[in-house]
């Protein structure tokens, strides 16, 4: 049985604040378990987004992408995203919007409503831990996640969007 909500938590735990995604994923997993909601949410952790993640959107009602950001608004952005080609000129990784677009093109259907939670990071060096600033932002982002998953619908989530 496919869980109605999928969460993609992206980042490398050994590269400083790039660990924000995996760290939030771990915290969310514990909270969902405690609340008895774990079966309704699939948590997918990866180093980076890529084309196959489009397949993880199949059969979902709602999707959330959690990632660290650099030079993005503090403490975080939370907003709804839509399929787009604009952000695809990156590296071996895809932007969340491009994953939605790959889904639309390969599945021939609209992807589920999707949101991105982008928490601003400060440093991303190999072997570094989370910065103190990122620790503070994580606490705020965790609070938002608990509110979101108390009512996991696109309509409810849209009330929490921050805008850029």
């Amino acid at each position: 049985m496919t869980a109605p909500v999928v969460v993609f938590a992206v980042g490398n735990p050994s590269r400083g604040d790039d660990a924000i995604g995996p760290e939030l994923c771990g915290r969310l997993a514990k909270w969902l378990e405690n609340e008895g909601l774990a079966e309704r949410v699939d948590l997918i952790e990866d180093f980076q987004l890529n084309i196959e993640h489009a397949l993880d959107l199949q059969g979902r009602e709602l999707a959330l992408f959690i990632d660290a950001g650099e030079n993005t608004p503090t403490p975080f952005i939370f907003e709804q995203i839509y399929p787009s080609t604009a952000a695809s000129h990156t590296t071996h990784a895809l932007a969340p919007e491009a994953v939605l677009q790959v889904f639309r093109q390969t599945e021939g259907a609209a992807p589920p409503p999707a949101f991105v939670l982008c928490v601003c990071g400060e440093q991303f060096d190999l072997g570094e831990g989370l910065s103190p600033t990122a620790q503070d932002r994580l606490a705020e982002a965790t609070g938002l996640l608990e509110k979101l998953f108390s009512q996991p619908t696109a309509a409810a989530w849209s009330l929490f969007t921050t805008g850029r």
Binding site: S14, E45, L49, A54, T85, S88, H89, L94, L126
Partner: protein, 487 residues
């Protein structure tokens, strides 16, 4: 095999073009081109702008942590580091020969990695250039553009990649941060259900891989003027080769040939690699430049990866891939093909071979065995080598009596190709930029040459907003006079 265009005589009088970072290449690459007032090219360099600190990251850790930890070096090929480290540490725990089950499970994991990596590279990174052309509309020159114009090709690319990831998941235990390989063997075998799930799809995977070879073969043959000459340079080449000279990605001995295909060395035990290969440091690049000691710095550099492997082996042990190898060799006309765009053709031959090997392994009941571990006399030093998707990968460790890593030396595939990539970029710059105004399409030609090698510049960081592409033209006084950017 010279260093033409590596260093200009009077760089202070030249205009600087920087491509920073190179788009659709893992990590932070930067190309700088110095032009004079007539736009003539005087100096071209591919830089690595991130200091990686691999060795420092690993030193001081208990050796048994290393196969898991090194996966965090690279977001694109973590399995390659996982297996190269495990092979090095096999030596340290005295595991001279793994159990049949352990070796086959590792092979399955590795060939799954080759399949997914080659599929991603071809369908996602390169097919936009190949299907639309290097000068095509930038807004379509990406995987989403491919999906719109060729939905079936794009879908197959996604499914091939997904299948390879599933092979990794069932052998490594997890989709990322897997722990399947451990010093001395493996810590899990396959269940019957896992094997049967993969068997359901493998025949499609083989068939689609054959189609992919034929697609790139057709693209290549239709435009020999471009594909046989774009960015071309002659060089030595190296890979490991398996038993009887077979193409082998997991284990074998080192073999090197010169640009005419003549053997330089063969049958070399990779525990002795440092007797044959030396790494040179140059002041303008963080990435070292390896070369064969016997030929020296100027003539001893080489290329690795699919184009080297497919031409270095004597044969491929699976029938469809061997047929395609012969077609490629025939097309090359009996001497080594050096055109960088031929990497794509050989990469797809390798993907087909990986699919065939996976099919054969899935019919082998050893994958279900629990006889997974061996050990022997403890050693203080070990070297592991595999053929990673991008080429030969060396992991070399020393361990103290407290089981802590005291020395680590990694020569990653992209480092092995460092000089070769620089040569390709110089050729393209000379051919396409010389005396012309710089446009986005022309700059993409530079990137096409780099992408042919599938370089992984090792940045597993990918934070949102972190990797725009910026191109700057800078005059001799350092003023930015023109810039292009992508986001």
């Amino acid at each position: 095999m010279t260093y033409n265009l590596e260093t200009a005589e009077h760089p202070e009088k030249l205009r600087r073009v920087a491509i920073d970072p190179v788009s659709r290449v893992e990590g932070h690459g930067k190309v700088t081109i110095l032009l004079d007032d007539q736009n003539k090219v005087h100096q071209v360099r591919l830089h690595i702008v991130e200091f990686r600190g691999f060795e420092k990251f690993i030193q001081g850790r208990p050796y048994w942590e290393v196969p898991v930890m090194v996966q965090r070096l690279c977001g694109i090929c973590p399995v390659s580091h996982h297996l190269a480290a495990s092979k090095a540490l096999d030596v340290i725990v005295g595991a001279k020969r793994l159990t049949p089950a352990a070796e086959k499970l590792r092979r399955l994991m590795h060939y799954g990695q080759m399949l997914q990596s080659h599929a991603l590279h071809f369908f996602h990174l390169c097919s936009p250039d190949l299907l639309f052309g290097f000068d095509s509309d930038i807004t379509k020159r990406n995987i989403v553009g491919v999906a719109a114009a060729h939905p079936e090709i794009a879908k197959r690319g996604v499914l091939l990649r997904k299948f390879g990831q599933e092979v990794i998941r069932v052998t490594a235990g997890k989709r990322v941060h897997g722990t399947g390989a451990v010093p001395g063997g493996m810590n899990k075998s396959l269940t019957i259900a896992e094997r049967d799930e993969l068997l359901k799809d493998i025949y499609h995977i083989v068939s689609w891989s054959r189609d992919a070879v034929h697609l790139i073969q057709k693209v290549h043959i239709q435009d020999p003027g471009l594909y046989n000459s774009f960015g071309i340079f002659r060089s030595n080449f190296m890979s490991i080769v398996g038993h009887n000279g077979d193409l082998d990605f997991y284990h074998g001995t080192l073999r090197a040939r010169d640009d005419n295909g003549k053997l330089i060395f063969d049958g070399v035990d990779y525990q002795q690699y440092d007797k044959y290969i030396e790494e040179e440091v140059r002041p303008w690049s963080y990435m070292k430049f390896p070369f064969f000691k016997s030929l020296g710095r100027e003539h001893g550099w080489y290329k690795v990866g699919p184009l080297a492997r497919v031409q270095n082996c004597d044969q491929i042990a699976t029938p469809f891939a061997e047929h395609e190898r012969k077609e490629f060799v025939d097309y090359a006309g009996g001497s080594p093909m050096h055109a960088p765009l031929a990497y794509h053709w050989t990469r797809m031959i390798e993907m087909l071979h990986a699919a065939e090997v996976i099919k054969d392994l899935l019919h082998d009941d050893d994958l279900l065995s629990d006889d997974l571990m061996v050990e022997g006399e403890r050693k203080m030093e070990g070297i592991g080598v595999i053929e990673a998707p991008r080429g030969t990968l060396f992991h070399h460790y020393r361990v103290d009596e407290n089981d802590l890593i005291t020395m680590a030396n990694l020569i990653v595939s992209t480092t092995n190709n460092n000089q070769a990539m620089n040569e390709a970029v110089r050729h393209v710059a000379r051919r396409y930029l010389h005396g012309r105004e710089v446009t986005e399409g022309l700059l993409n030609h530079i990137e096409v040459a780099i992408r042919a090698f599938d370089p992984c510049l090792s940045c597993a960081t990918h934070a949102l907003g972190k990797m725009p592409l910026a191109v700057e033209l800078v005059d001799p006084e350092g003023q930015v006079i023109h810039s292009l950017s992508r986001s």
